[in-house]
């Protein structure tokens, strides 16, 4: 297999990774998924960099990729911390909750209400025998975690 054909394959895979990540980032509303999609785009780019590096026989590209991976790790730490915090505040991972940065007077974007999830526990599910008193959770301390 010639060098350029090999490069082409790598580039195709990198392009696919990037494209899938892009579509995922644009289409999904779950913040973690969006974050993963962004990572996927990053990896697509990294792959193509490695391929070009190999093609040209230049280590610069590989070195850049190592650098990108290191940055991505930091980014992942910060991004996940932010996502956790946002989840802590809103109790949702839906990114459309966070539209506060819009201009005054612009209506909030509503694409489609998320379907209310049915009660997780149907009434006829078997119950454990009550043992002692049922713990009464304090409402204000426990964040609402209905829709993960």
């Amino acid at each position: 297999m010639s060098e350029s054909a090999l490069l082409e394959n790598y580039l195709i895979v990198g392009g696919l990774l990037f494209g899938i990540g892009l579509v995922g980032f644009l289409a999904r509303r779950n913040m973690i998924i969006m974050f993963l999609a962004a990572e996927m785009m990053l990896q697509g780019i990294s792959l193509s960099l490695v391929a070009w590096s190999r093609f040209h026989g230049d280590w610069g590209g590989q070195m850049l990729v190592v650098f990108v991976i290191a940055v991505a790790a930091c980014e992942a730490a910060i991004a996940l911390a932010l996502v956790l915090r946002l989840f802590g505040v809103a109790g949702k991972l839906d990114v459309t909750v966070w539209q506060n940065a819009r201009e005054d007077g612009v209506p909030a974007f509503v694409d489609r209400e998320l379907p209310e999830e049915a009660d997780a526990a149907p009434a006829d599910w078997p119950k454990l025998t009550p043992a002692g008193r049922e713990p009464a959770p304090k409402e204000d301390e426990v964040p609402e975690r209905s829709h993960v």
Partner: protein, 711 residues
């Protein structure tokens, strides 16, 4: 060496003391002096008065013999006669100096031979210079004397007023400004103090500023005076471009307008159109300040101020500033007389216009005073009328006329201040009521006021041997002389002056009879305690009454006034040009004017003593005439229609333009970015996917462009 009696020192001290009093009262009045705020003003006024009298005698002692003997016309060779007078100029400091301000005009003269021909460009030099000559010293003595008495009177009249200290601050400031006005030796400074007395007048008319009429009257006085002052300012510009200086005296190598050099050189005053224009513009200024037609409308309204103010500013001193100025500028007016402006077969000279304006005003104001019912306003119209007399005298264009006008100014100050203070005394007793229909028969209640008021009225009416008789007679005689020699205009003015004399006597005694005679009626505002005024008010009345009796007689007897007055170089200029004998007593004229005055008094007595049935009949008979007089010939309405409304309309129009056109344009510029922004606003959704999409689309556009260009 400091010599307090040197003329220079006196000249500076006289205005300085009232200024000091004004500053003191302003600084200490509200907290320290309080009820004693009149002391600085009274002391300063008193001392200034004594100093003024000293100055008067010093100047008199310094007069050259020729002027003393009243024989200025004869004597040494003509051409160097200006030294017949005496003047001293004290230069305090140089206020402003501008190099090369004006190309030398033709009429500019070098003041000394040493200077040689004038340079190409003249410098502006404004020196703060005070002068003393006979004209100034007479005015100073009169102003400080009346001021002192009025301040003493006001100490009683204004007693208990909330703005006691404020009143005396303003009055001191006024005395300062007025003494400066008559002693400065520069047209520019004259203008400055001209405005300063106007400002004091404004402040004092609106002294009771809570009263809307008083505030409006102050504003009216100020605005009407602006018209006159505008003319005055234009006159100054014209003087500057014509003569190349604004100084009275010789200074900075250039001969002053009234300086010795110019006075002694023959024919260096500009006549013709320019001369006439200068004189008329100055006259316009004088008309504003001295309330002459057509700018007379402010003075009656100015009576809203406290009565001492009416007596001091609006009768005795400030309103005579116009007369003083015209008298001071005698050579300018005489130049216009000597070389009139000829246009289309008419020859127009400034003095005759002065005379016509004065005479017309005298008659007009006298006619309005006939039906006026406010005692102070009667006196105000009478002031306008008497000022008209003074202008008539100045407008005769002879030395006799000028000295007579100044003489009338001098005597009028005493008896008119007296009458106003008397009116104030009546007002004080009547609890602020001044409408003569609402009180009567006060002669037993207010005996001192009555007797002094009677003396003042007799003096105003011109009855022998009181002050007004001599001075008014001098004016009428001067007019008669001129009319006798030339006929025409001045003959008519003479007749009008006589009619006015009759009217004057009539309205004065109408006021007197209605106030002091008849059944005793006291308005309810006076309460139970209608009484004679306190001594601080009656003493000034007595002193002024004494003056009103003796000044005219004294000066006429000694022939002192006119001869003293021609010691002023600018007036002796007129004397040199020999315009007839001065101060001559005309028995026939005196007899006629006395008869007309007595006639006026008799008619007043016939109509207003007793039942007054005839008045009602007469009022009905003279219907339209009565209404004209009662409506003040509708000048206020006329000005309202011709000046105020159009101006208000213009202002409204400008306001509309400003509000809708200019503001609209500015607001449009402000709103434009907002509108543009709001078009793009919907892009800012705050939703992260939109931004991502935008980035992707942007990237696509970039890619497509790249491919396009490379492909």
């Amino acid at each position: 060496m400091f010599d307090p009696l040197k003329i220079e020192t006196l000249t500076v001290l006289i205005p300085a003391l009232p200024l000091l009093a004004a500053v003191l009262t302003a600084a200490l009045g509200p907290a320290v002096l309080k009820k004693h705020s009149h002391w600085p003003a009274a002391l300063a006024g008193g001392i200034s008065c004594v100093l003024s009298v000293l100055l008067l005698f010093s100047v008199r002692a310094n007069l050259p013999e020729a002027a003393h003997a009243g024989d200025a016309a004869a004597g040494e060779a003509a051409g160097h006669q200006a030294s017949a007078g005496f003047e001293t100029v004290v230069v305090l400091w140089n206020w402003a100096a501008v190099k090369d301000a004006l190309p030398t005009p033709a009429a500019a003269l070098p003041s000394t031979d040493a200077v040689g021909p004038l340079d190409q460009m003249l410098d502006v030099q404004v020196e703060v210079a005070l002068r003393s000559d006979t004209l100034t010293s007479i005015m100073l003595a009169m102003v400080t004397f009346v001021s002192t008495l009025v301040i003493i009177y006001a100490a009683g009249y204004m007693h208990g007023d909330r703005g006691y200290w404020r009143f005396f601050t303003y009055v001191s400031l006024f005395v300062f400004s007025m003494t400066m006005l008559v002693s400065v030796s520069n047209f520019l400074l004259l203008y400055v103090f001209w405005e300063a007395v106007g400002m004091c007048s404004y402040l004092l008319i609106g002294f009771w500023y809570e009263k809307p009429e008083a505030a409006a009257a102050g504003k009216k006085a100020f605005l009407v005076n602006r018209v006159g002052d505008f003319g005055f300012a234009l006159g100054l510009f014209l003087l500057w471009t014509t003569y190349g200086t604004l100084n009275f005296h010789d200074a900075g190598g250039v001969a002053g307008i009234l300086g010795e050099t110019r006075l002694s050189a023959a024919a260096v005053y500009v006549g013709g159109g320019t001369g006439l224009a200068i004189c008329l513009l100055l006259l316009l200024g004088a008309c504003g300040k001295s309330a002459q037609f057509p700018l007379h409308v402010w003075l009656p309204d100015a009576m809203e101020g406290p009565t001492p103010v009416s007596a001091l500013i609006h009768a005795a001193t400030m309103v005579t500033a116009g007369v003083y100025m015209v008298a001071r500028c005698t050579p300018l007016f005489f130049a216009s007389y000597a070389e009139p402006y000829v246009a289309g077969g008419w020859s127009i000279d400034a003095p005759s216009i002065v005379a016509v304006v004065g005479c017309f005003t005298a008659l007009l104001a006298a006619l309005i005073a006939l039906t006026e019912t406010d005692l102070k306003r009667i006196l105000a119209y009478s002031t306008i009328s008497q000022l008209g007399y003074m202008f008539l005298g100045l407008g005769v264009g002879t030395l006799a006329g000028v000295t007579a006008g100044m003489f009338h100014l001098f005597t009028h100050a005493f008896f008119k201040a007296l009458l106003f203070l008397g009116a104030g005394s009546v007002m004080h007793a009547m609890g602020g009521v001044i409408d003569i229909r609402r009180f009567s028969g006060l002669r037993r209640l207010l005996p001192i006021t009555f007797w002094t008021f009677l003396i003042g009225s007799l003096a105003l009416a011109g009855i022998f041997p009181l002050a007004g008789f001599w001075s008014k007679d001098a004016i009428v005689a001067a007019v008669a002389d001129r009319g006798h020699h030339e006929g025409g205009l001045y003959q008519w003015l003479y007749i009008i002056a006589l009619i006015t004399a009759c009217l004057t006597a009539f309205y004065t005694f109408r006021a007197l009879f209605l106030t002091f005679f008849g059944r005793e009626t006291i308005p309810p505002e006076a309460g139970e305690h209608a009484h004679e005024s306190p001594p601080s008010m009656t003493w000034p009345l007595g002193i002024l009454a004494g003056c009103a009796v003796v000044v005219g007689f004294y000066f006429e007897w000694t022939h002192g006034f006119a001869e003293f007055l021609i010691g002023t170089p600018s007036i002796s200029y007129l004397a040199e040009r020999a315009t007839g004998p001065i101060g001559e007593f005309h028995m026939d004229v005196a007899a006629i004017s006395t008869v007309s005055a007595v006639l006026g008094i008799a008619v007043a007595a016939f109509l207003y003593l007793g039942e007054q049935n005839e008045v009602r009949v007469l009022t009905r008979l003279m219907g339209p005439l009565y209404r004209m007089s009662h409506g003040k010939f509708f000048f206020d309405q006329l000005y309202q229609g011709l000046v105020v409304w159009p101006l208000a309309g213009l202002a409204k129009f400008s306001f509309w333009i400003d509000r809708w056109l200019i503001d609209g344009l500015v607001n449009f510029c402000g709103r434009l970015p907002v509108w543009l922004g709001s078009a793009l606003r919907n892009l800012q959704t705050g939703l992260i996917q939109f931004y991502a999409l935008a980035m992707v689309l942007g990237l696509l556009v970039l890619l497509v462009t790249l491919i396009w260009q490379n492909g």
